[in-house]
């Protein structure tokens, strides 16, 4: 259900040439022409690089260099320039060989959000510099978007970047930043022009998180953990060549990231009972003594809903197999959040007394994003799921997006249109 690598799950099972489906100009002459050739390419790579007899990182670097990291990326940048729905073929071959992966749950933000944005908007030199260590996990990326005063209204953000010679100097505070304490780099949206309407004065950067002007503090959540952070930037510096997109074009660049984030959170292709419903179903099977008719119908309603959402995710993956995620991902994200909250709530009620006990309130900073809490108490799942309708855009904002961009309904009346950012009441 959550594919943080952003890869659709449907493998191209039928071996037909896909040459004609490819976007023009995205590949060189050496890309495989069908599933058999692609499989052969992986096997040949594995014959030359025995995962058992190699350093993990060396293996991952070699896999990237062979274009087998993310096949829909261009050649030279870890890909082969073929459709992204061919990725599962590659993953299956590597899994079969017992090859190490790049621990996608640890570097989800880099894979799902930073990478597509870098690919679309960074300079060629920067793409080469950033994408390889991003994919191998040598460099963790985080996302500096939300601020205390700019959550749903992201375009109102106040973190300032001011030009200083070949550099930009950044001051401001960001919140809800997962993995910031592990990150070497961040994607960052700043305000570079306060005198124009809010969407027009933004500029997008990649920032070095290891510099002295960047301070990361844990932000503890209702689960007891500090999965997220606050990030304070005080005269932090960014060279101009680390800008993504034009000055003032940051909103458009951020849109690339956000579309990918919503797909990463809501899309994907888990097996049946692969998500939150799996916990409730397992409890139900293991505890006949706790079953009641009322909870049974509720369970079945949620099972049906979960399966409908799962199949919709599969259909969405099939739809965007050759293209880019669109606003339809927003509806998937909405459903995912609502479902997780309902199921985790039912799981607690079903378990009764057992759910009155929590496992651990100790403040820790987890290594990996774990939205389901498979190893945790039911109470953790219930509490963590509350974040699903807030992170990556609240469900209310998602509904606005679906209504306005998918269904074409008229926009909300707003008080900040054509008003310079500095004059908007705050």
């Amino acid at each position: 259900m959550i594919t943080l690598s952003g890869q659709p799950a449907n493998a191209g099972a039928v071996n037909e040439p896909w040459e004609e489906h490819r976007a023009p100009g995205v590949r060189g002459g050496s890309a495989p022409r069908d599933s058999t050739e692609l499989r052969e390419r992986v096997r040949q790579f594995l014959a030359e690089h025995d995962p058992a007899g190699m350093d993990r990182l060396d293996f991952l670097r070699a896999r990237y260099d062979a274009g087998l990291a993310w096949v829909h990326f261009p050649e030279g940048l870890g890909g082969l320039g073929i459709e992204r729905n061919k990725q599962p073929i590659v993953e299956a071959e590597f899994a079969k060989a017992g090859a190490p992966d790049n621990d996608p749950r640890r570097i989800g933000i880099g894979l799902g959000m930073a990478a597509p944005t870098i690919l679309a908007h960074a300079g060629e030199e920067q793409k080469k510099r950033w994408l390889r260590p991003l994919w191998t996990g040598e460099e963790v990326w985080c996302q500096l978007f939300s601020e205390p005063g700019a959550g749903s209204d992201l375009a109102a953000l106040a973190t300032r970047a001011v030009r200083d010679g070949d550099d930009w100097v950044v001051n401001g505070q960001k919140v809800w930043t997962s993995q910031a304490h592990k990150a070497s780099w961040a994607i960052l949206v700043t305000r570079t022009d306060p005198d124009v309407p809010k969407h027009k004065g933004l500029t997008y950067f990649a920032i070095d998180m290891t510099q002295p002007g960047v301070e990361v503090r844990p932000l503890r959540q209702m689960t007891g953990e500090a999965e997220f952070n606050e990030v304070f930037m005080t005269d932090a510096r960014i060279p101009d060549e680390h800008r993504l997109g034009a000055v003032g074009d940051g909103w458009r660049v951020a849109t690339t990231t956000l579309m990918n984030e919503r797909v990463a959170i809501g899309g994907g292709g888990a097996p049946r009972e692969g998500g939150m419903i799996g916990f409730a179903a397992k409890d139900w099977r293991e505890h006949p003594e706790l079953r009641t008719p009322g909870k049974h119908d509720e369970l079945m309603r949620l099972w049906v809903q979960a399966e409908a959402v799962r199949l919709t995710g599969r259909r969405l993956s099939q739809q965007m197999a050759a293209g880019q995620p669109g606003p339809e991902g927003s509806a998937a994200k909405l459903a995912f959040a609502e479902l997780n909250q309902k199921i985790s709530g039912l799981e607690m009620e079903f378990l009764g007394e057992q759910a009155l006990r929590y496992d651990d309130w100790t403040m820790r900073r987890p290594e990996r994003t774990d939205m389901l809490g498979a190893q945790r108490a039911p109470g953790f799942r219930f509490l963590r799921a509350k974040g699903n309708s807030i992170e990556g855009g609240t469900s209310e904002v998602m509904r606005n997006i679906v209504a306005e961009r998918v269904l074409g309904l008229p926009k909300e009346m707003r008080a900040d249109v054509d008003v310079p950012w500095k004059d908007i009441p705050r």
Binding site: M300, R314, L409
Partner: protein, 356 residues
């Protein structure tokens, strides 16, 4: 399994929709709603003979179009969209599925050509896998009553389930009593047999079970088509209708509900496509897929029709506006071939989540 529409399906949809838009737009269906007989047999003949809609899943050597239940589902979506009064569900779906399962090629060929209408004589509310026949067969003579049968009014022959197997009966040998039906675009008929002569075409209950299962999958497609139509027609209205000086579709109170409805319809599309594909491929997951589709789409279609009525406000409650036709069909469909909760119960047994 591919859950998208193929090019062939997209073309088929366009042809069916063009014909229905021309011959049976909502205003026309509405105008004939109270006719003694509003079944549009002329339109049905065109659908059957020119577009092959009566025989899509029938092999070509048996006079059919040689397509599958997947393409049939697309036709069901379009007929649902138009609440088109043609004998599709009872004959081209239930009747055809029963004949295919029974292997009665002669009757199948005649029905495929659109010359005869052969309807499965079961109550529309029959639940797949749980239907108990109400007609007895003794020495080839059939006696008993089947209530609330869909598309029996114009049938040339009826397929009548009994404990002794499935019988083919000439329509002239039974008594048909029209029912005042909630869904006026799919009129029901009570069928009484008093020693009617029948020919047994299948033993046991398998053919009927298969027909009801296929029917439930196709009904899910019909429900999807109708739900999507309710959403689209409501979207068009809320963009147009102004109150307090602005389009009512700009209010979040409506926008958010429509966004939710869009999500539900998208999900209904995925489960409906999955069910149609499973039925077409005779996939081992078919019982789960069909129960899932019915459990889900039955609730979505009613919600969509109710939102359509509510968001149209005063006009939506009138007879002159077509919204009531959609609501009546939606509610009838949610009861047809098993209610959502019965399908949830069936699903519970299939996926090992027993009630107690």
């Amino acid at each position: 399994m591919n859950l998208l529409y193929s090019d062939v399906e997209t073309d088929l949809r366009a042809s069916v929709r063009a014909l229905l838009d021309e011959r049976a737009p909502a205003a026309t269906v509405l105008a004939h709603l109270e006719d003694d007989d509003n079944t549009d047999l002329k339109l049905w003949r065109t659908l059957a003979t020119e577009l092959g809609c009566a025989s899509l899943p029938v092999p070509e050597e048996q006079g059919g179009a040689g397509a599958t239940w997947r393409e049939t589902a697309v036709v069901a979506e379009e007929l649902g969209r138009g609440v088109t009064p043609v004998p599709f569900l009872g004959s081209a779906v239930l009747g055809t599925a029963a004949l295919l399962a029974a292997g009665d090629t002669a009757t199948l060929s005649a029905a495929a050509a659109g010359d005869t209408i052969v309807t499965l004589a079961v109550p529309l509310a029959a639940m797949p896998g749980a239907y108990e026949p109400t007609v007895r067969a003794e020495g080839g003579k059939l006696t008993g009553t089947v209530t609330s049968v869909a598309d029996a009014g114009h049938a040339d022959a009826l397929l009548v389930p009994t404990a002794d197997g499935l019988y083919l009966v000439e329509a002239g040998d039974v008594t048909r009593t029209p029912v005042v039906s909630l869904d006026m675009t799919r009129r029901l008929t009570d069928v009484t047999l008093s020693g009617a002569a029948g020919t047994r075409v299948a033993e046991g209950a398998d053919a009927v079970t298969r027909a009801l299962t296929v029917g439930a999958a196709m009904l899910a497609a019909e429900q999807l088509g109708l739900a999507d139509h309710c959403l689209q027609t409501t979207l068009a209205y809320v963009k147009e209708r102004k109150q307090f000086g602005r389009a009512i579709g700009s209010y979040q109170a409506l926008k958010h509900r429509l966004a939710d409805l869009y999500g539900s319809v998208s999900q209904a599309r995925a489960v409906s496509r999955y069910a149609a594909s499973c039925v077409a491929d005779d996939d081992p997951d078919t019982p789960v897929a069909v129960a899932l589709a019915q459990a889900y789409t039955s609730e979505v279609v009613v919600k969509a029709a109710e939102e359509c009525v509510q968001m149209h406000g005063g006009i939506g409650f009138t007879w002159e506006h077509p919204a009531h036709m959609y609501l009546k069909r939606a509610k009838a469909d949610s009861i047809a071939l098993g209610t959502a909760d019965r399908h949830r119960a069936a699903l519970a047994a299939l996926v090992d989540l027993p009630p107690a």
